[in-house]
């Protein structure tokens, strides 16, 4: 409140963040309770403990932000907590649908996914905190450009290592170490965004140099095509060897948009689009798993058995209608992979069009704050990093939500923060930690102004 009284001191927004966080935790806990009321007709016995646990996690994240990134955008963390909390409630809800009578009566659901998701949330918040402890200034990341690049590629290829990689549901995107399974692709995404940002800052002047002019578009010089081709080939390799369309599209999309932002040359967009279409057409011609997705998108009702997933997803959405069945009162478990890939249609069913819109808008806000951070940031590396992270989030949400609602062909991607899956959840917390880190630097008042009496504030000490 003291900031508000002093017009010269910049608003930090920590108070707002705390209030929003309370709201986020309340929504999440309310969702959890209404799931049990809707499905079982009783308030869950651990409701208070659950509320306390969520509040503690959110509080911890808030305290760390308050200490380490006091100027950070106050909306990012509450949005993330809301989404994560809603995801937990829905995963719990689908656990209940799959539980037997005895399990419900006895209290313990053997195959429950929600407790492990909660554990992963704890790990996620832990890594969120760790990012603030380890990365005091995001600019040090620029030093690791090439290390990050190689690490990213290495992580991407890891699931293909015999003995280490595992194929689950037809996609070779997992590695297994002891009892733990992990999708290294999720980590690779963030590492590669750091690498792209660092690389583009250094080379953007060269990449922006015009080559030949065709149809009013300045094409890049042929010798500068190397990087985009490397990423393109990598993306295709993911598609071919890991049989996973989503990450491939996501990776290539992020890179093309970042190179466009860095160079301000539309020609890179055109080139990227051409390469994407080329790769897409080739994939559709060569791979049965891609064809199924495309045909299921064009005409899912021509064969409701073959396109079972998307058809069931649409049925769930339709059944929810405008207002939804209410949490715990629909049949989202009829949609395959309702806890992971299709969690959006589960929300569409139980919360209706209204609830699903709110969730999409929450993602939109998250992305918008990310872009805002990038716009205001002066440092080119920070700008590109924030932009890359925001793009990654927005693009992933568009691909997965568009896929399950049949706006675009279905691809395998998790819904950030909502979907069941430890790797995805943990890495998205890291992603947001970086975004918060950059936004703190963006909004931090520039210190070098000649010290006047009034300008000496506490802020500078931090």
């Amino acid at each position: 409140m003291s900031e508000a009284s002093d017009s010269l001191a910049p608003r930090r927004g920590r108070g707002i963040e705390l209030a929003l966080l309370l709201f986020a935790v309340a929504i999440s806990a309310a969702a959890y309770v209404s799931v049990d009321i809707g499905a079982l007709g009783r308030v869950p016995p651990n409701a208070l403990g659950y509320f306390g646990g969520l509040a503690a996690l959110a509080g911890l994240a808030h305290v760390v932000v308050r200490l380490r990134a006091p100027y950070a955008d106050p909306t990012l963390l509450p949005l993330v907590v809301t989404l994560n909390g809603l995801g937990l409630a829905m995963i719990h809800r689908i656990d209940l649908a799959g539980a037997s009578e005895e399990e419900l009566a006895g209290g313990g659901i053997e195959a429950a996914a929600a407790p492990s998701q909660l554990t992963w949330m704890v790990v996620g918040v832990g890594l969120f905190v760790a990012v603030f402890l380890l990365v005091r200034d995001y600019r040090v990341l620029a030093r690791f450009t090439y290390t990050a690049g190689f690490l990213g590629l290495f992580l991407l290829l890891l699931p293909l290592v015999p003995g280490l990689g595992r194929e689950i549901n037809g996609a070779q995107i997992w590695i297994r170490v002891g009892p733990l399974s992990f999708q290294p692709g999720e980590a690779a995404k963030i590492v590669l965004i750091v690498a792209f940002a660092g690389y583009l800052v250094r080379t953007r002047d060269a990449l922006a140099l015009a080559g030949r002019r065709v149809l009013g578009v300045d094409l890049p010089r042929a010798r500068d095509l190397g990087p985009i081709l490397v990423v393109w080939v990598t993306a295709l390799a993911i598609l071919v060897f890991q049989r996973d369309l989503g990450p491939s599209l996501l990776l290539f999309g992020i890179f093309v948009l970042m190179i466009y932002i860095a160079t301000e040359r539309v020609s890179w967009l055109v080139l990227g689009a051409l390469l994407a279409v080329l790769g897409g057409l080739a994939a559709n011609a060569l791979f049965a798993h891609v064809q199924v997705r495309v045909q299921g998108w064009l005409d899912p009702f021509s064969d409701t058995d073959r396109f079972f997933q998307i058809v069931q997803s649409l049925y769930g959405l339709a059944y929810g209608g405008l207002l939804g069945t209410g949490l715990g009162q629909g049949r989202p478990d009829l949609v395959p992979f309702a806890q992971s890939d299709f969690i959006v249609s589960a929300f569409g069913e139980e919360l209706g069009l209204t609830g699903l819109m709110a969730i999409i808008v929450a993602y939109g806000l998250l992305a918008a704050r990310g872009f805002r951070t990038a716009l205001v940031q002066r440092d080119p590396f920070g700008k590109l990093l924030a932009a890359g992270l925001a793009i990654s989030l927005a693009l992933q949400v568009f691909i997965v939500v568009g896929g399950v609602t049949r706006l675009i062909p279905l691809t395998g991607l998790t819904t950030p923060f909502l979907s069941q899956g430890g790797s995805s959840l943990v890495m998205n917390w890291v992603l947001v930690a970086l975004l918060v880190r950059v936004s703190d630097a963006t909004r931090r008042p520039t210190p070098p102004a000649p010290p006047t009496d009034e300008a000496v504030t506490q802020v500078v000490k931090l």
Partner: protein, 482 residues
């Protein structure tokens, strides 16, 4: 870098708007279409989880939902099973719904607009929404008499309230038990379905309303009506009735079943022709009136339009464009004339009801879950089939059929009965159909009946009177006695 950054963020904003527009389309506009799809398990499961309303006959549920412990929550039961199967239909997870279970599904499931206010109340009070009830017009005694009369013969019975058009009995044999089709064991459903659909006797076919057969001599009532309505005939008009009728433009002849002329000198009266079911006389009258007049009369009795569409009843047919020999055959209910037992009963009912044909119906009332009446079927007129005067003449002629003619087996002591027998040949290699239609009491009609038995031993009108008339009599007695 801010210009491209702004463009990219605006681009994403548009993509997100596309997401919102798309889910709006799916969830708000496409939803009804998706929810109505047959393979959508969700809607069925939801329906099963709701207490479906009963189908009621005379205050007793003939279809009801009982609470169970399994996933589906409610089991559909048909306490009387085969007795009402063709009216109730079945309610099956795998095979959908039939008859009233299909036609009145919205009411039974509780989704009908007429139940909207109650649904709202349920929503507010937090009570599980329940379906409404459908009360049928069937009379349990008449229905029982119809099935007892048919026994294990293949056939059908329809009984109508002559003044309202309410269906009092609707029987079709062989019948089936809808209970296994509603079983919660999918294997049991499948097994029942397989055995019912492969049975050559087609037990799920509702012969009373959904199958048309050549009506044979019972159609002579329609021809008589056309003759009287033309103004050129009275019951006493003398018509030729030789042993054989030479079909015009053809070398073929149409014989009487007895092989004898219908009266001395090969002549008879219209009334007598009906009494003894004289083929040659009606063939002559048919050609005298022409196919146009016959068709118009038949259509006023309900031919060529679908009765009871909610039950998917078949449309009885009087064909177009007949030449003279075809018209002669059509006049005695042969050639391509085809009728359901329902249509035959409607014809008698119209004669009984002073010429006014009432719209047949089987749903008497729609009741809310609290058994309050929400909707009631109001009897309505379909057409003035014949004048009151013609109806009176026809009634007298048909009473004569029962009292002195081929329909003696339908006579009820102390009650005047009007009727007409029929026997129809569909193909040379299959046994003929025995028909009977009647109404009673003739002086104050209350019930009209049509009976068909698909296989008789001999091709004479005697068989219609011998096999079908006793069934009609039993059903009429059941209605009049109750």
């Amino acid at each position: 870098m801010n210009t491209p950054l702004r463009r990219v963020s605006v681009g994403f904003m548009l993509l997100f708007f596309a997401l919102l527009a798309n889910i709006t389309y799916v969830q708000a506009f496409q939803a009804d279409e998706l929810n109505a799809r047959q393979d959508n398990r969700r809607v069925v499961l939801d329906e099963y989880s709701r207490e479906r309303g009963p189908i009621i006959v005379a205050d007793t549920p003939v279809a009801r939902s009982v609470s169970t412990e399994d996933e589906f929550e409610y089991l559909r039961q048909y306490p009387e099973g085969p007795l009402y199967a063709h009216a109730t239909g079945y309610y099956s997870f795998l095979f959908g719904r039939a008859a009233i279970e299909r036609a009145e599904n919205d009411v039974l499931a509780g989704t009908d607009d007429r139940l909207f206010v109650r649904r709202l109340v349920d929503l507010v009070t937090g009570r599980e929404p329940r379906g409404g009830s459908v009360k049928l017009t069937l009379d349990p005694t008449a229905q029982g008499a119809a099935y007892d009369g048919l026994g294990d013969r293949k056939g059908a019975v329809v009984a109508l309230d002559t003044t309202t058009g309410a269906i009092l009995a609707m029987a079709s044999t062989p019948t089936y038990d809808p209970n296994p089709l509603a079983s919660h064991s999918l294997d049991e459903q499948q097994a029942a379905w397989d055995s019912l659909t492969t049975d050559p006797n087609r037990p799920m076919l509702n012969r009373a309303i959904a199958q048309t057969l050549p009506p044979g001599s019972v159609f002579k009532v329609v021809t008589s009506a056309a003759a009287l309505e033309s103004g050129r005939y009275t019951p006493e008009t003398v018509v030729p009735g030789p042993a054989e009728y030479d079909l015009p433009q053809s070398t073929r002849t149409l014989p009487n079943q007895s092989g004898q002329p219908c009266g001395p000198g090969g002549e008879t009266t219209l009334a007598n022709a009906l009494r003894i079911s004289c083929n040659t006389a009606f063939a002559y009258i048919g050609n005298d009136l022409g196919d146009e007049a016959l068709r118009e009369q038949a259509e006023r009795f309900g031919y060529n339009s679908q009765p009871l569409p909610e039950m998917n009843a078949a449309t009885s047919v009087f064909p177009d464009e007949l030449d003279e020999p075809q018209t002669a055959l059509a006049a005695i209910g042969q050639f391509d004339v085809r009728a359901t037992p329902l249509e035959i009963a409607m014809t008698s009912a119209a004669v009984a009801n002073r010429g006014v044909l009432m719209r047949p119906y089987v749903v008497e009332e729609i009741l809310g879950p609290d058994l309050a009446v929400i909707d009631q079927t109001q009897p309505s007129e379909l057409s003035q089939a014949v004048s009151a005067e013609t109806a009176r003449d026809l009634t007298a002629m048909m009473v004569d059929v029962v009292e002195n003619g081929t329909g003696g087996n339908a006579a009820i002591p102390g009650v005047p009965v009007a009727g007409k027998t029929g026997t129809a040949q569909s193909a040379p290699d299959r046994p003929p159909y025995a028909w009977f239609t009647s109404f009673a009491p003739a002086d104050d009609p209350r019930v009209a009946v049509a009976v068909v038995i698909e296989e008789t031993g001999e091709n004479t009108d005697i068989s219609g009177g011998r096999l079908a008339a006793p069934v009609a009599r039993a059903v009429m007695e059941a209605v009049l006695g109750s």
